[in-house]
Each structure stands twice: as C-alpha cells, then as structure tokens.
Amino acid sequence: MSDRRIFITGMGALTAQGMGVPALARGLREGRVAIRAPQQPALAGVPAAAELDGFTLADALKSFPEGAGPLLDKARRLALRAPRPIECATFSALEAWLDAGLHAAPVPAERVGLVVAGSNLSLRLQHDTAKKFVANPEFIDPRYAMRFLDTDHVGILSEVLGIRGEGFTVGGASASGNVALLKAWQLLQLGEVDACLVVGPLADLSPMELRALHHLGALSPGGGREADQVCRPFDAGRDGFVLGQGTACVVLEREDSARGRGAPLHAELAGASLVLSASHSAAPDVAGEVAAMRNALARAGVAPEAVEYVNAHATASTAGDEAEVQALRDVFGGHLGRVWLNATKGLLGHCLFSAGVVECIATVLQLREGFLHRNANLREPLAQDCRFCGDAATGQSVGVALSNSFGFGGINTSVVIRRS
C-alpha cells in the first residue's frame, strides 16, 4: 500500500460532449450519445464518430477568467498556430491548471511535473505534410522538425504553464491515459514532484490509420445502424469501437501540497498498475487484465469487496468486452453482482490516447456528484451475472471505483479512484 496519498486537484476536458468539464458532466448525467455520422473530411468512410467540432483555441481562450491573463497571452503566442492536438491539449491543461488554483496559489515550477499520454501524436500532420512534400519538397515548414516529435506537446505546455520539473511522453496504445496516470502517481510517490499534470491528447488519426483499424476489424463497420446506435459496449450486437475525439488533463498532487495550497480535492488516485501480457498482438488477455486490477487494488490497500463501481475499458469490440467480463469475474468472484459497470465509450467513443484520462474524469465526476451514467445501446447484455447500469443515469452514490484501460501490444492497466 502506498504511504503517500495522491489527490486529483484539477480537471480539464474537451470532448464531443462540449468544451470543459461541466459540459462533460452534463453529457454523462443526461446520457447523451455524442456519436454521429462524421463530418470531417479526414473521417470520410468511417460510419460513425464522436467528433470535436466548433472548437477553436482562439475563442476558447476568451472563456477563461481575467486572472489567467499572462497564461492566456503565452497560450496565444505558442499554441494558436499549433496543430489541432496541441491546441486542444492547451485548452484542457489551462482548464485543469486554473481548476487546481495553480495560477493563484502556485507550486514551485521545479516541483511540477508533466506527463503526456500517447505516442505518434502527429499522424494526421505527417500524412498531410507528406502529400505536400511530394508536390514540392522546398516548402516544408521548418517547424515540422519539432512538430513531428511527440515532445512538442511537452515543450509547448511546459512553456505556457512554466513547468520546470520532470516531463515526458509515455505511450501505451489505448491504455496510454492510464499509463500516464500511473507514471505521474509514481513520480509523486517518489517525491520527485509535488504536483503533476497528466495530459491525454487528441488522437488525430489520418485516413491511413483509420483504414488499417478497419481492415484489422477493430473499428465498427456500422452494421447499417443509425450512427448513434453503432457503439454498443457489452451488448450482444457489438462489432467494434467507434472513434472518439477528446482531450483531457488532470492535476495530480500530493496531499501535503494540495492541503497547503487549499486546492480542491476532487478525488484520490489511490492506486495504479500496468501489467504486460508478453504479447505483441491486438488480442485481449484475461490473465493480464486480472493482474492489472489486482495490483492496482493492492497498491491502494483496497479489497475487491470494497469496489462499488468499474468504469470499464469496454470498447465494444467483440473479443475485448467478453475478456473484460471474464477478468471481472476472476477479480470479484461472488461480489461481481454488487459492482456497478458502465462504459463511457458508449457516449463519447474511444478517445484512444486520452481515453484513460477522460474516463478518470468521468469516474471522478460520478463519485463526486453521486450518479452513475447509463450504458448506451445495451439492449442484450453479454453476461447475466454483471450489474450493468441501465438505460438512464442512476442516483447512485459510490465511494471506490476502478477505471480500466487495455491497449494493443498486451498493455493492461487499472487505476483505483476513491471519493475524497
């Protein structure tokens, strides 16, 4: 069990439910499915997606309070002409930073860390630049030399926010968000930093990645359904994931630092774990998933019987959801029927790199506000022994939750979140 308590003191989110954490909370409570027929040219051919649209950083910066002035000036200078993932990440990071009160009651710059989730964050930029390069190699933007590196996120965000502690990107495929939460949690446990931003960036895929995912059978072909009914986590009719576009950021902070600054304690990140499956494949691995959940609970000092709610990975893939249910049976045994289960991806799509951070925030919102969001399109549950949330949000008060993320390449992760 960890001896230092780590709290979530700031949250920022930009999802297909809208701009900011309040929009996400509202969307979850109302159970709004943000998935529809795609509008963006890069998504042509995809049957459904939860798109981010109508967002511009220039407009979004106007929504922040006056007190954030100098930060907003830096954001304008550094991020207004940056690629879309960085624009979106800047918004979420600012929202989380201000929510944590880091502008008003700062932590020394060298005691703040920054972990950015995901790898290959510039795929659409690379695809578009390649087309331009073939036409005329002379006019390659020199800044592309920095933009193609994932660490451009680290550079831009650290400069905007003045972060001088440890910082890096960490890849874990679809589990990247949870991997980043784990690494930040460990940095805080080690005492390397007092506060740490965890950023889950937008997965800005190009038509090439989308087509490959389609050929792999991972992406839902749509099945002739209306777009808002395509994503069906835990349903017998599920046939693959639906892409979600979203960015999220949380500030993790040691208890002494958070209390000393009078920061809000949204929830405790009580434990986290990553377990490999010794496999390069896309196939889920029950044993790895079980081990990830058990390790996270052990680190949090939480018995399986104390868990009341699981925010499942649940991408709506045929094999993945089945494996997760089996892993939950192994971890919880007879207690499974008392654990509420839901899948945020049914409302928001699969946000890939940021999914773990988005779902961490979704979990915190539900713990803090005393409700559990519905499972969209769950008509015929794949298991009868599980306690799936129904078709409407329930006013359920829960105190301890798990949030799972599993990625291609045998990367299994779980985090334990406890109500403050």
Binding site: D73, R76, R77, L80, R81, E138, F139, I140, D141, P142, R143, M146
Partner: protein, 81 residues
C-alpha cells in the same frame, strides 16, 4: 507590386506571431524586434516563399538585415520568375 509583396510578408509575420501589432511591421524593423526567434523567422520566410512561388537560397536570405531588405530580395526573385 511591392505593396502586394509587403502584404504577403505581413500576413506571414502575423500568422507566425499572432500577438504582434500589425502597425509595428515596417520595412526598417527587424523580425527579431517583433519577437521572432530563429524558427519563427524561418517559418515566416518559408511561408512567404511558398505564397510567392519562389525559392531563395539560404545564403542570400542571411544577408537580409531587416524586413525591407527581405522584401527587396523577394522582389528580385519574384520579378525573375
């Protein structure tokens, strides 16, 4: 034509440095004075060359001391197109 070229340079400066007051962009000013770092300057130059459809060797560009002399180099290449 020189007014048009100046306009193209100005637009590229503002694209790279969106917080700069457009009135400060004058031929006698250096890009550095407007807050452009070396990558910003390259980006402004590349963007302008792309818009004009010209390609100026780096050695020639390095001789430009201010926005006015940059404009002169671009004018010469643009006229020779």
């Amino acid at each position: 034509m020189s007014t048009d070229l100046f306009q193209v340079i100005s637009e590229n400066i503002l694209k790279v440095l969106p917080d700069v007051d457009a009135r400060l962009i004058t031929p006698e000013r250096q890009l550095k004075e407007l807050g452009a770092n070396s990558i910003d300057r390259m980006e402004i130059v590349m963007g302008t060359m792309e818009d004009l459809g010209i390609n100026v060797p780096v050695t020639e560009l390095s001789q430009a001391k201010d926005i006015g002399s940059l404009l002169g180099i671009f004018q010469r290449h643009h006229a020779q197109r």
